[in-house]
């Protein structure tokens, strides 16, 4: 029995030397391991990175003006996200 215990101990030490990850897996059963597949990893990153539009004022109320004047206002748009924000269209109406 003692010999068996010695053999098991030696086997465990051998596993740590050869493959620490495998030994860790052996110790932590059930611990999730991140995907080693590059395509899956890329998908995980792109799912997180996204543009985030932020407009402080979407409505502008101008002061009384006489007819004939041109009213001009700049709407400020920010991107608070982690990917590039594109304006794909502007329609009047």
């Amino acid at each position: 029995m003692k010999l068996f215990d010695h053999l098991m101990a030696m086997l465990f030490v051998f596993m740590i030397i050869c493959s620490p990850a495998a030994a860790q897996t052996l110790l932590d059963h059930g611990t999730p391991v991140a995907s080693q597949d590059p395509q899956t990893a890329e998908e995980e990153i792109s799912a997180v990175a996204a543009p985030e539009l932020y407009i402080p004022d979407k409505i502008h109320q101008f002061e009384n003006v006489p007819a004939g004047q041109t009213v001009t206002h700049d709407f400020i748009m920010h991107n608070k996200g982690t990917a590039t924000l594109h304006i794909t269209g502007v329609k009047t109406g």
């Binding site: 543009p51 985030e52 009384n64 041109t70 001009t72 709407f75 924000l85 329609k91 009047t92």
Partner: protein
Amino acid sequence: MKVNTTSYAGRTLRKNIKVSTTDPQQPSVTLSISGTVEKFVDIKPKYVRLTGNAGQDIRTLVSVIPAPKYSFKITEVNARKGSDIEFALSEKSFPEGNGYEILVKNRKTEPGRYHDVLSLKTDSKIQPIVKVTIYGNISKPETE
């Protein structure tokens, strides 16, 4: 965003624009601009129509009354073409306040239509020129 207020005198102007973006949470956003547009001047009638038969005396009086808030003086009157009309400017008091009266007369002797624009030069920085549109429609002379 630029908005021309010319045709909104005495009314509330509201304009929207719809912006499409690549933000997955806000693929479309509406931006809005609004406000009150005040009258700068009251012109009656809004458009001058000189209609009648050739040879007749065809004329119209146009009243031009500045809004009290934007009071101005007319310093000069010019017609864009001027070949079919004649005009005369005079100062006049109206119940609404002091203003001007413009007498516009037809000069066209042949049947036909025409279009002209009177430019009223003002001493106002807000609207240095006020325009009055004129439409003429002269028919054949009446036969007795």
